[in-house]
Amino acid sequence: MELKEKLISSFMAFEESVDVHSDLHDVRTSALKNFETKGFPTKKEEAWKYTSLGAILKNDFSVFPKTDGAVDFADVKKYFLHEIDTYKVIFIDGKFSSFLSSTTHDGLDVCLMSSALTKPKYKMVIDEYFNKVASKDESLTTLNTAFALEGAYINIPKSKVVEKPIEIINFSTGNEAALLVQPRNLIIVGENAHVQIIERHQSLNDNPVLTNSVTEIFARKRAIVDYYKIQNDNLEASLVDNTYISQKEQTHVSVHTFSFGGNLTRNNLNFYHEGEGIDSTLKGITIIEGKQHVDHYTLVHHATPNCESHQNYKGIFGDRSTGVFNGKIFVEKEAQKTDAFQQNNNILLSDKATINAKPQLEIFADDVKCSHGCTIGQLDDKAMFYMQSRGIPQKEAKALLMYAFSNEVIESIKIPELKQRITKIIAMKLGVNMGFDL
C-alpha cells in the first residue's frame, strides 16, 4: 500500500486510540481531508520544484511504532548540550521518554503535547493557540495536524526569563525497518518573557526515518525567543521541518538552522507579523556533501509597519550535494517603513554540486527598505595561495576559509556552549584541527 493510502486508512483507528478534546476531531478531520486531496508534494508544484520526496516515500514506513524503543543514557548523552543545565523534552521513536527528559511545571510549563491535548486544564490554551498559525492547506503540515499527538508543549508565562535552555530531541532507534514520525510542538512565550530553545532530530541507526514535524511558536508582546535547529542526522534520515511563528509587537524572534547531516532536509520556516516594532532573524549554515540535499524555504510576512527582518544563509556544497534557497519576503500595503534584508551566499566545492537560489520579494508598500543579495562561487584562489604561502596546508586553508565564510552566522549564536558545539561539528565536517579554539 502506498504511504498516502496507508495513512488515510489508519486515521480512524488513530482517532479512536487517542482521547482528545472533541473540538480537535474537527481540526484533524479537515486536516486529513486536505492531505487526502493534495497528497504528498511533487516537483510539479513550484514550491517543491527542486526537492523530490519520491524516492523516500517508496520506503514502507511504519506509521505507528509497535515497540517501545529504549536507549541507554550513555549512548545519547553526547547529543545533549548539557547533562543537567537544560530542560529536556526527549522522544524515542515518537514516544516521550520520561527517563531521559527533564521537564517542569514550576513557574513555566515544559512538558508534553499529549498532556496538553488531552488534559482539561490546558483546554483554553489549546483552543487559543493550537493550529492557529500553522498552515491549513499545505499538505505536509495538514498531514501532521491530522495525526498530531506528541511533541513538546512549552508555555512561558508573562515576564519569565528562562535561565536554562530547553532542548527538544527526537531520537529514532531503528526498531522499525522504516519509521515515519510526526512531532508536533507548541511554544507560547508570554509578554516580556525570554526563552532559548534547541531542537534536534537524531537517528541512532541506519534504518530509514522520515520526520514530518510541525512547530508553532507564539511570541506575545516584547517576548524574546532564540530558537536553534541542529540538523546533523545520519544519511538515512530525512526531515521536513515546518515551523510557523506568530510575532506580536516589539518581539524579537531568531531562528538559526544548522544543516550538516541527513539525507534530505526541507525547512519551511514562516514568520508572521502581528504588531509594530517586530524583529525577525533567520540564519542558517548548510555544509553538506555526498548526495545530501538541503532545501530552505523561508517566508517573512510583513503585515504591520516599522518591522525588521534579517536573513542570512550560508551554504557550502561538496560532491554531488544539492541545495535550495527560496526566500520569500512579502510586504503588505500597511507595512510601511519595513526594513527587510536577505542574504544568501553559497560556495560550490565541486563541479557536480548544485545550488538553486531564488529570492522572492513581493512588496505592496511604497516606503520600505528591502534588499537581497545572493552569491554563488568557489573558494577564492587568491586567498588560498595567500594562506598557503604562509605555510598553511591546502586542506587547513580550505577549512579556515569555509569557517570564515560561516563565521558571521556562528558569531550570532547566543548560547556559548552551543557556539562551541557548532564550531566543533564544523571542524569535524571539514576534517581539521584548526590550531586555535574556534
Binding site: 604561502s389 604562509r390 570564515a404 563565521n407
Partner: protein, 248 residues
C-alpha cells in the same frame, strides 16, 4: 642560498619569464627593478609556488633543493616568504588566529610541538611593537578594511613572526606614505641578518633609500638585462626606464 637558473614561466600561454638567472647568498639584499609588465611580480609568484604560473624551463633551488615540485606551503616551511603587493582580505579570521595557524602548521611540518600560548602572545607583542602595530589590530579580521599602509605593515609583521630564510617583498612600497615606508623599512632592516636574504621588488628607487641593496637587477621583458650595485638604482631613477627599453 637561492639559485635561479634559466627560469621560464608562462601564464595562460603567455610567456612572461624568458630565462632568468639569479644567485642570492645569505646576508644579501637584492633589488629587482623594472618597468610595469616586465615580469617582476611573476618572478615572485613563481618562487613562492603560485600554481597559476607554469614553469616551462629552468630551476629554482633553495639550499640545494629544487623547489619546483613543492606546494606553496612546503616552500613556506622551507623558509620562503612572499610579502604580497595586494594582500588578500580574509573576513572572519583574525590576525592572531591566522598567525597561530600559520606558525603551528610550520612547526607541525618540522615535527615540533605547537607553540605554547604564552610564548605565542609574547612573540606577537614583540613583533607588533617592531612594526608599531596597535594591539587592537590583532583581533581584527585579516586585512579586512585595512588601509594600504596597514596591509603592508601587517605583511612585514607576518614576516617577522615567521622568520623566513628568504623574504621577497613585492612592491611593498606601493601605497605607503613616508611614515609607513619608514616603519616597514625599519622592520625589514631589524629582521635582516647574515643568515637570511631579502629580495626587494620595486618600481621606484625610493624604498631603496631605506632598505639598501647589495645588488640591483633590472628586469625587462622577462629577462635580467642589467645588474650592478646600489648606484644602478640611482642611474635608473635619473634616466628612466626608457633608457633600458632603448638599449634592448
Amino acid at each position: 642560498m637561492l639559485q635561479i637558473k634559466n627560469l621560464h614561466a608562462k601564464v595562460e600561454d603567455k610567456d612572461i619569464l624568458k630565462g632568468i638567472n639569479l644567485t642570492v647568498n645569505a646576508g644579501e639584499v637584492h633589488a629587482i627593478m623594472g618597468p610595469n609588465g616586465s615580469g617582476k611580480s611573476t618572478l615572485s609568484a613563481v618562487i613562492a609556488g603560485n600554481e597559476n604560473y607554469e614553469v616551462t624551463e629552468g630551476e629554482v633551488i633553495l639550499d640545494g633543493e629544487d623547489l619546483s615540485e613543492l606546494a606553496p606551503e612546503e616552500r613556506a616551511h622551507k623558509g620562503v616568504f612572499l610579502s604580497f603587493q595586494y594582500p588578500v582580505e580574509i573576513p572572519g579570521v583574525s590576525v592572531t588566529n591566522f598567525m597561530k595557524t600559520a606558525i603551528n602548521e610550520s612547526r607541525k611540518a618540522k615535527g615540533l610541538e605547537e607553540m605554547p600560548a604564552n610564548e605565542m602572545l609574547k612573540l606577537i607583542r614583540e613583533k607588533s611593537e617592531l612594526l608599531e602595530i596597535d594591539r587592537k589590530f590583532m583581533s581584527r579580521s585579516l586585512n579586512e578594511g585595512f588601509s594600504g599602509g596597514e596591509k603592508k605593515r601587517n605583511e612585514i609583521f607576518q614576516m617577522a613572526m615567521l622568520d623566513p630564510k628568504l623574504a621577497i617583498l613585492d612592491e611593498t612600497d606601493s601605497g605607503l606614505d613616508i611614515d609607513a615606508l619608514r616603519i616597514v623599512a625599519n622592520g625589514v632592516n631589524k629582521l635582516k641578518s647574515d643568515k637570511n636574504a631579502v629580495i626587494v621588488i620595486t618600481h621606484y628607487q625610493r624604498l631603496l633609500d631605506y632598505i639598501v641593496p647589495d645588488f640591483v637587477h633590472v628586469l625587462y621583458n622577462g629577462k635580467i638585462v642589467k645588474s650592478g650595485g646600489k648606484e644602478l638604482a640611482y642611474e635608473l631613477e635619473e634616466k628612466g626606464y626608457d633608457w633600458i627599453k632603448n638599449e634592448n
